[in-house]
Amino acid sequence: MSNFFNEMYDGGKVREPYARLEGWTRAMPAELRQMKQAEAEALFRRIGITFAVYGEGGDPDRLIPFDMFPRVFTQFEWRKLERGIKQRARALNAFLLDVYGRGEIVRAGKIPARLVYQNEAFERAVTGFVPPRGIYSHIVGIDLVRTGPDEFFVLEDNCRTPSGVSYMLENREIMMRMFPALFRESRIEPVDGYADALRRTLASVAPAKCDRDPTIAILTPGHFNSAYYEHSFLADLMGVELVEGADLFVEGGFVWMRTTEGPKKLDVIYRRIDDSFLDPLCFRPDSMLGVPGLMDVYRSGGVTITSAPGAGVADDKAIYTFVPEMIRFYLGEEPLLQNVPTWQCGKADDKKYVLEHLPELVVKEVHGSGGYGMLVGPKATKDQIEHFRLKIEEDPGNYIAQPTLALSTTPTFVEEGIAPRHVDLRPYCLVGENIELVPGGLTRVALTDGSLVVNSSQGGGVKDTWVLAE
């Protein structure tokens, strides 16, 4: 236990950002806590913020457990993170613009051509296209973990459609409703500017052809999608339509919404569906979720799609290794945030090392997400390890491995009271005319004692994330 950094207690001392919370918890009797917890749950259920686990069936109205104990950063800590995150978001976008253009970084031999051009997420259909402002990834979710007072590592980048931001906003809303006094006493940076910032960002990348206040819509796969709540929540906060593919059609080089007053032109689509479903003419012909002809309109500058089709090539776990290189190559800067050392099983030497050290490592599928297809060596049984050994031998290129990080812990309400649990952090960086980052993010917490897997699909919970004002 002691080799994990505890964000609240440094030895016996309470670290500065948590000073106020110390008194808060002490003053809260168990009954009150239980009452508040039940209240929070009822609120979540009432607003309908639920989460369906992929492929598990079960209760579609399952709640993601919410832990009332906030996760806190000082202004100083946050500023440092912010600089690193923005730097990374800039580099990732520069990379995308480059590889869909001349591919200078590949020509310069900094990244192997194979990793870029044979990547499944590389979309030949958008090569040679420069989206408005040259931006491909407008919402970048950077997953971070902390291992010490000053040590942060980037676990992965999400350049396509990072989800979870509704939890960041709702967690805060509910905390403020339940503990107003806490917010009066502590000066906490607000996060509710996110929707405005997102809207600004989207409006700033409207196509050149758009000569008025741009019409924006969120494109959802539909109400059966597990993130539907988030889609509708964001549409509502921004005051834009939430559309499905069938609500749209193309004509005359533009995209139109089917409305009760006739067709209405759409300028910017914040899509929450995968590339392959966007347009059956261009990608999967069997897709019923997309809009036939959408890509032609996009390529001819009639509509902006955010994040741009093809953005996924930057957030691949194999490309991840090269992000520090991108930062140096495009920005001429040194990376402010560190990558986790990563072994590519596709490389013979790396594979050898990985197979020899499986019990110590975390192994992930290159294209996996949501904590599936993952091996946590130190927590795994012998059988699981052997199972992964076979999988890696079978298709080494599909796996990467990383050391098991000593993820920091924060105090968390559990059955027996308060106990340290491992956490990560996903802030959401917006890239448009400006690069913006609201002070906060989604803190995910592994609720099981000792667990390092924070994914909500694997029994993780969420916390409100505070950045203290100066």
């Binding site: 259920r45 009432r46 607003i47 309908g48 109400h223 539907y228 509708s232 549409a235 509502d236 339509e241 939430l242 559309v243 499905e244 069938a246 609500d247 919404m257 089917r258 409305t259 009760t260 007053e261 006739g262 067709p263």
Partner: protein
């Protein structure tokens, strides 16, 4: 507003109205079961209920003979029955979930609570549930949904689509209820002079929660003519065909004003209402009640299709 959003709103209302109709039907059934048989077997009563709800076929397929308990299950709890109360509430809530942002939190709360409570009800043993409790519960939920809508919604296009849904569904439901009763009750047209066995008519009035209102409005003996007038032509009766049609027309007119554009749906609604306004009860019976109702149901169906085409399909330019 997105056509699909309008369609979802329209169907929220239709499902709520339909759930209520189902509950009222069940209530009538329960009431009859408590009464001594007045020469009419329970069996034919329950059968007519199934017919009225348009679920006779589905029921026969699943259960065969109409037994009260099965009918209750089928009309209230059965998800295989798309018109059951549970199906209707679930669909209304699902439609609401899809367009939550077009609703106020009060309306969403009302619909979501109905759904959550319904799931609680489903978990209970059936033996613990009194039918009258169930039907009252549905009426209460429907009233809360309507109340939340009236009290909190902006009077914008979405509001009009909701109310169009209520009005068109109600027009259709009332006409169908009457039509079924007509079959069972009036094989001959000897309404003149009254003296009918009015037991079945009473049942119909109860199904529409209108028997007391009826007495206030007409008093005296119950005659087929009075009932037909009350349920078809009386503008004071909240469930009469004319009231439902007029409500539909009002909301269509308001949509036309909001959108600065009128179309065939408005024209048709005006025509249907115009005709009803000039119709006398005698005319109806002269045409034949069944023929009249069949024609009305078709006209409302056509009007609904026009609404669908003009606003909900997204095909209109």
């Amino acid at each position: 507003m997105l056509s699909r959003t309008a369609e979802n709103l329209f169907w929220i209302a239709r499902y709520i109205e339909r759930a209520e109709t189902m509950a009222r039907l069940l209530e009538v059934g329960a009431r009859i079961a408590l009464m001594p048989s007045a020469g009419h077997g329970y069996r034919s009563e329950w059968e007519s209920l199934l017919q009225a709800s348009g679920t006779a076929e589905g029921f026969a397929e699943k259960y065969g003979d109409p037994v009260q308990r099965n009918i209750e299950s089928y009309l209230f709890f059965d998800r295989d029955n798309p018109s059951s109360v549970v199906s209707c509430i679930e669909r209304a809530r699902e439609n609401a979930r899809i367009v939550r942002t077009a609703l106020t939190s009060q309306v969403w709360d009302a619909l979501n609570m109905a759904f959550q409570e319904m799931r609680q009800l489903e978990r209970k043993a059936r033996s613990e549930l009194e039918l009258t409790e169930l039907t009252e519960w549905v009426n209460r939920q429907a009233a809360m949904v309507r109340g939340a809508m009236d009290a909190t919604l902006l009077r914008n296009d979405g509001y009009h689509f909701l109310n169009l849904g209520f009005a068109l569904e109600r027009a259709d439901n009332t006409a169908r209820l009457m039509d079924v009763k007509y079959y069972v009750l009036l094989p001959r047209l000897d309404f003149v002079g009254g003296g009918l066995d009015n037991y079945q008519w009473q049942t119909l009035l109860r199904a529409l929660s209108a028997h007391r209102a009826f007495h206030w409005a007409y008093g005296g003996e119950i005659t087929a003519a009075k009932i037909a007038h009350f349920l078809i032509l009386n503008r004071q009766s909240p469930r009469s065909l004319i009231t439902a049609t007029e409500t539909a027309m009002d909301h269509l007119d308001q949509l036309a004003r909001d959108y600065h554009k009128s179309g065939p749906a408005q024209m048709r609604a005006r025509a249907v209402l115009g005709e009803l306004s000039e119709t006398r009860v005698e005319d109806i019976f002269e045409e034949g009640l069944h023929e009249f109702l069949t024609r009305f149901i078709r006209e409302i169906g056509e009007l609904t299709e026009m609404v669908q085409h003009a606003y909900l399909s997204g095909e209109a330019r």
